[in-house]
Symmetry: C2
């Protein structure tokens, strides 16, 4: 079904035991097709859609981008992405708190994947459930926004352990905040010593270059694997 | 088991079908014991623990308070509450993204419930799963912090529909933010016309009086029911 210009797909959960295998197969298929899939996770309001919009702005002339938006309800995020002209599909999870590989595959089946270099999956806003499910993505990013506090790696360790990169958003809120960046970095690196940590403000644009450099390198690395 | 001074209980999920019945029984038992149970829900970092600390500060001489802290991992919130001298139990959900009535009951079994007027349950940080499970609480509060954005009722409608009160925290961030309080209120009231909406800043103390007035009225209403 569609809402306005947005294609909306209602997805159901796959069988958990089969998910890891399905995710592995999906990742391999995408590698063969030279399409980089990024799983973007965060709390509600941490800035997932804002980071996607900044990424589109910075990389749209360099790569062919697509977006899979997941939400319990509503198409507000897809509508924002659609205004950029980027292909976007809305996955409606109808209460599920995460995406799995089956849901992502269903979303991708509605996109011209072969014609895209990079697809960003905006997972459901949640620091708990998305961490537990392999979506088939090549890389996993988590956004933590400054107002959420520097103690989140202590409280939601899994998501900071399984991710490849942590984007600290809303650094424009650092002034006057008690967020301790040094402590935050230590807590992340204790869980995940190889994690990249990138500080940005999607509002002001600060640090977006560092983020898009990371993403560019990862996309090119996948494309080069295929050459 | 314990971590420092904090009693920690590892909880498991009850059978979903039985949860509603169990929650109803728990609510009735607490009513008989004149103990008010508040289910406090929010995203990670919205300010659940800060609101609990403010509430303790304001009401500790008036009511006998207790706190049930739920977390996937870690006891950082309990430790903060314990410094106030308030009885606190840490529930460790080991990956579950919500509390149910069975878990709350297990936590309460470790407290002297009869000796308490009000127990605040800090649910797991998440706008999705906690909304779906009746914990046996008399009232449900959800905190939405300004940096999360005014569109959250569109994206997580269930939690704003089932709650009795919405606390908008971090109003000190309103200046320079694009958070539209009028739109936010409209969105909440469209889902839940009888919801109370209270604006606070746990940081500055602004609005805390309005919050504690609401809570005082609700606790007294339960106590009066028993007279």
């Amino acid at each position: 079904m569609g809402v306005g210009n947005i294609r909306v797909i209602d997805v159901k959960e796959g069988i958990l035991a089969d998910n890891d295998l399905r995710a592995e197969q999906l990742r391999e298929r995408l590698r063969t097709q030279s399409t980089f899939l990024l799983n973007l996770m965060a709390s509600p309001g941490a800035g997932k859609t804002s980071l996607i919009l900044r990424t589109i702005g910075a990389l749209k002339d360099e790569f062919r981008l697509g977006v899979l938006e997941a939400d319990i309800e509503s198409v507000v995020d897809s509508e924002k992405v659609a205004t950029t002209g980027t292909p976007v599909i809305q996955l409606r999870t109808g209460g599920f708190c995460h995406l799995d590989a089956f849901m992502v595959e269903e979303g991708l089946s509605a996109m011209d994947v072969d014609a895209l270099d990079c697809i960003i999956v905006e997972n459901v806003g949640n620091l708990v459930c998305p961490a537990e499910f392999d979506t088939g993505a090549v890389k996993k990013a988590v956004i933590l926004s400054v107002p959420e506090g520097d103690d989140k790696p202590l409280k939601y360790p899994l998501i900071f352990t399984v991710c490849d990169v942590v984007v600290v958003n809303k650094v424009d809120y650092l002034e006057g905040s008690d967020f301790d960046m040094r402590k935050f970095r230590e807590r992340v690196l204790k869980l995940n010593p190889s994690a990249e940590i990138i500080e940005v403000s999607c509002k002001t644009g600060q640090g977006i270059d560092a983020w898009t450099s990371w993403l560019r390198k990862e996309i090119k690395s996948l494309l080069n694997d295929r050459l």
